[in-house]
Amino acid sequence: MSMVFDEYGRPFIILKEQQAKARVKGLEAQKSNILAAKAISSILRTSLGPKGMDKMLVDADGDVAITNDGATILERMEVQHQVAKLLVELSQSQDNEIGDGTTGVVVLAGALLSQAEKLLDRGIHPVRIAEGYEAACEVAVKTLADIGDVIEFTKEDTSPLISTAETTLNSKIINVNRSKMAKIAVDAVLSVADLDRKDVNFDMIKMEGKPGGRLEDTELVSGIVLDKEMSHSQMSKEITDVKCCLLTCPFEPPKPKTKHKLDIDSKEAYEKLYKHEQEYFTKMIQQVKDSGANLVICQWGFDDEANHLLLQNKLPAIRWVGGVELELIAIATGARIIPRFSELSEEKLGTAGKVREITFGTTEEKMVIIEDCKNSNAVTCIVRGGNKMIVEEAKRSLHDAMCVVRNLIKDNRVVYGGGSAEIACSLSVSAHADTVMGTDQYAIRAFADALDDIPLALAENCGLSPIEELANVKSKQLESKNPFLGVDCTQAGTNDMKKQGVFETLIGKQQQLLLATQVVKMVLKIDDVITMGNYQ
């Protein structure tokens, strides 16, 4: 940092560790921040759209992830730069809230910033640019609401939901099986959705991935899947009319929590103790039996002694079931969690239609599936695939699709994809720009230009000539006043996205614009960067 000097030319310290601090000020700071943000967005740009490419990310441990999900890419990249991190958070926040459009939001922010850079060069004040963007964003969000369409669906007719899910899956690696995957996503969401309250509890959907098998083998199980096996290999593998007890106490003699010491001073006492222990085991088993349970699910382990007794008494058991899963089972089966054996009773048991243990291919891996539960709204997707990477990516893609379906249930308004919504917004924003006085006009127009970047990137990624395609579509939209015209990425022969059935949720799209504008304002407003060490 720069120094201050006194009468005699002696420099003096104003800040602590002044020498170690680096400072970038003014336009230079904005430029360097914009550069960093643009670098991030240019990485994601090629992942946009149905023909978007994947990224391969290798982390420090050598684990490989292949994905084209924007939020995942950015998260795994471990971005260091402070401003670039803002974009990472931007993408994550879109992911948390909407679950889809994580790439688009970053590409849009990058486009807005590169437009802003041009305006900065012309000497427009950064805050004015940001304010212009905000004004433009309001117009665009309103336009989206105007061109939005309402999708009607019922529990019986889910085809609109499925086609939305398909749009989302289009850009993913699993797009070969998109119709099946889309159906799984829709079924999963609908089974846990509360259509009256328009609420979807995602905690009720579990996702289990097992490498092996084919992607087509992915299935949706209504019930809960536990990545566990029966505690003894000879226990029965399939139980019907299950009455299960959920225990949070181990199958062993109870221990007081207070520090204790048992003094054994005679042989008799020792034998008594041994007898007591044996009694505990038999009593426990008896209590379970008496309650009428035919399956034991335990949060803790039990030793061989207990295991053996359980087997003898024909009580199948599952051990080491985590707290969260235990809770899920409790909700699904209507069971109460039992903290000690003496509280076992029939009404505290849970019921399920069927519990079975399944094995996968030739591997040793087993899973327990609890089906037909009493209050069954919990579902589990078992995702299969050729290798771990595919399974992981399929899980992410399915999650994205489910998020989209959820959003539709919450709010059934949609806009059409393929860049059509962006083009429509761009047109309305630039029309609005002409009515605005002063420098804001430039910023608003720049916003419109930035919106064009999305269809441009889409066309580019599909191998089309981007400028030509955009110009075509734009003029067509203007001519026919049809806001559903977009970039024909899949060469389906029509530009009308409504006919192609490519749509996205309205809230998702609106959120994209709003979030991107917010972050851009934040970046533009920084004119001074003070850091310890070097600021790259």
Binding site: S2, I13, L15, H125, P256, K261, E327
Partner: protein, 589 residues
């Protein structure tokens, strides 16, 4: 190197202090202090006003992006002893008013800058200080005379405008329409004494869009850590009774160091049972009290969770202290430290309780509380940084509203009040004899820094605007409230355009800035113990007197670099540059 050391080679200096002690005194010391303050103010001045910019400060661990003067000053870690005074006044402004933390620093440094020529020409600092004190007093009095008092029914409108003005310069300025009413509602919900701002909780939920932020009239806090069985609890109550505890509800040993000796294996079970009975007894007492919701500062274990779930209660353990206190205030409950002797009086009541999903998190909401003393603002935003800054801005706005509720008088912002006070001081100065006249004029000129900087930050020609303002204030009727018009780059009646600030804000910043300037002017010697110096900090500055020459040389070249730097930096630091050059001339000669 040292001011009092003769430059001649022959005469050795008398060493009074321990070797390495850095002393400087007299006029040069004063000047260098003033320069240090100018440098600090330089760092924050661009954040002023609606077109102010943000600073990104990275301290090696954490990033802060802010536009709040006090926050930036704190993060800069200022080490210069005199310049620290500025940090202090910024902090005190923050604590006292909450807003105007940048302008107070600017005012102080501007005053010092205007006084500097007088010091250089040999006016005694005490004379300056005396005159400054008078000027400060008059300025404060003038603000008090000019302030527009609140009228009862218009109160809310006034508060809204004040909150809006406070938010103007912030990142969330576009969303004033959302936040200003939110803040005003939150503050007006408080009891009359307004003393405890902790009663307004601000919760941050990353994700979502800033406009999804909302106000809860009541208490809201994040779902706490929960055990298995939590999901089976009832999550919605109307008219629930709330039991607040500071008790651990877990199956555990009652006494830390106790040890049980069991001699007979038959007794074993009885010990186990005894422990269970202790916890069950506690749980039963909670239930018997008639409560529907049990909240505890300490953990509520899985056993208790499941037990409560069975009985249809809701419980949450490890609730933060602030949240518990807010719940207690809102619902009228009392926090209990034991489960013995629970009675109906100590239970809190509220109209509705619900667990609700907000973005990724789940929140416990207590609403329709009987004594509406608390409010919670839930902030949303695209990134953590964004929310952090929103939080700071909201804090500022809350403080401003609180102060205006208390002082119930406002003045117009946008530099209008400063111009008017400046005009007043200028005309009053003519009535004073002696040096005081000049000092008061300098003080008046110093006040103009606020409109000047506002215009500068917006990228307008500050001199033009300042001249227009002077003309308006001096020569035209009804020009009292004319300030900088940020939108068009001219001047306007800021009172009419709703740029309102609580007058206490201005009074506080004027007097704080005046005080600080006086303090800095009264210092004529700094003695710095060598050990307090950071190792390696400052080129030749901290060196021992023996190495003075070499150090000085280093300083010189550094200074040259700095002068170049300033030349390249252009207008903004131009003033400082001139000062340095001027000093160099004197020091060298």
């Amino acid at each position: 190197m040292m001011g009092n050391m003769a430059p001649g080679m022959g005469r050795p200096g008398v060493i009074l202090l321990r070797e390495g002690t850095d002393t400087s005194q007299g006029k040069p010391q004063l000047i260098s202090n003033i320069n240090a303050c100018a440098a600090v103010a330089d760092a924050v001045k661009s954040t002023l006003g609606p077109r102010g910019m943000d600073k990104l400060v990275f301290d090696g661990r954490k990033v802060t992006i802010s536009n709040d003067g006090a926050t930036i000053m704190k993060l800069l870690e200022i080490a210069h002893p005199a310049a620290k005074t500025l940090v202090d006044i910024s902090m005190s402004q923050d604590a006292e008013v909450g807003d105007g933390t940048t302008s107070v620093v600017l005012l102080a440094s501007s005053m010092l800058k205007e006084i500097k020529p007088f010091i250089e020409e040999g006016v005694h600092p005490q004379v300056v200080i005396r005159a400054m004190r008078v000027a400060t007093k008059m300025a404060v009095q003038r603000v008090k005379d000019l302030q527009v008092p609140f009228e009862g029914e218009k109160g809310r409108e006034m508060l809204l405008k004040c909150a809006g003005t406070a938010l103007n310069s912030k990142l969330i300025s576009r969303h004033q329409d959302l936040f200003a009413p939110m803040v005003v509602d939150a503050v007006s919900g408080l009891k009359d004494d307004l003393s405890d701002l902790n009663l307004i909780g601000v919760k941050k939920v990353p994700g979502g869009e800033v406009r999804q932020s909302f106000l809860v009239r009541g208490v809201a806090f994040k779902k706490t850590f929960s055990y298995a069985g939590f999901e089976q609890m009832t999550k919605k109550f109307s008219n629930p009774k709330i039991l607040l505890l500071n008790v651990e509800l877990e199956l555990k040993s009652e006494k830390e160091n106790a040890e049980v000796r069991i001699t007979d294996p038959d007794q074993y079970q009885s010990i186990v049972d005894a422990e269970w009975n202790v916890i069950y007894e506690k749980l039963d007492k909670c239930i018997e009290s008639g409560a529907n919701i049990v909240l505890s500062k300490l953990p509520i274990g899985d056993l208790a969770t499941q037990y409560f779930a069975d009985k249809g209660l809701f419980c949450a353990g490890r609730v933060e202290v602030g949240d518990i206190v807010r719940v207690a205030k809102a619902t009228g409950g009392q926090v209990q430290t034991s489960t013995n002797g629970l009675s109906a009086e100590i239970l809190g009541k509220c109209g509705a309780f619900e667990e609700k999903q907000v973005g990724d998190e789940r929140f416990n909401l207590f609403t329709e509380c009987p004594s509406e003393h608390t409010a919670t603002i839930v902030l949303r935003g695209g990134s953590e940084q964004f929310i952090e800054e929103s939080h700071r801005s909201i804090h500022d706005a809350i403080m401003v509203v609180k102060r205006s509720l208390k002082s119930r008088a406002v003045v117009a912002g946008g530099g209008a009040i400063e111009m008017e006070v400046s005009k007043y001081l200028r005309s009053e100065s003519m009535k004073i004899e002696g040096k005081g006249q000049l000092i008061m004029q300098a003080f008046a000129k110093a006040l103009e820094i606020v409109p000047r900087q506002l215009a500068d930050n917006a990228g307008f020609d500050a001199t033009d605007i300042l001249n227009a303002l002077r003309k308006k204030h001096f020569h035209e009727e009804g020009g009292t409230w004319f300030g900088v018009d940020i939108d068009t780059g001219s001047i306007c009646d800021t009172f009419k355009s709703n740029v309102w600030e609580p007058s206490i804000n201005k009074i506080n910043s004027l007097s704080a800035a005046g005080e600080a300037a006086c303090v800095i002017l009264s210092i004529d010697e700094t003695v710095r113990n060598p050990k307090s110096e950071q190792p390696g900090a400052g080129g030749g500055g901290g060196g021992p007197p023996g190495g003075g020459r070499g150090g000085g040389g280093g300083g010189m070249s550094g200074m040259m670099g700095n002068a170049m730097d300033i030349a390249n930096n252009g207008q903004r630091s131009g003033r400082l540059g001139k000062g340095v050059k001027y000093m160099k001339g004197r020091g060298g000669g």
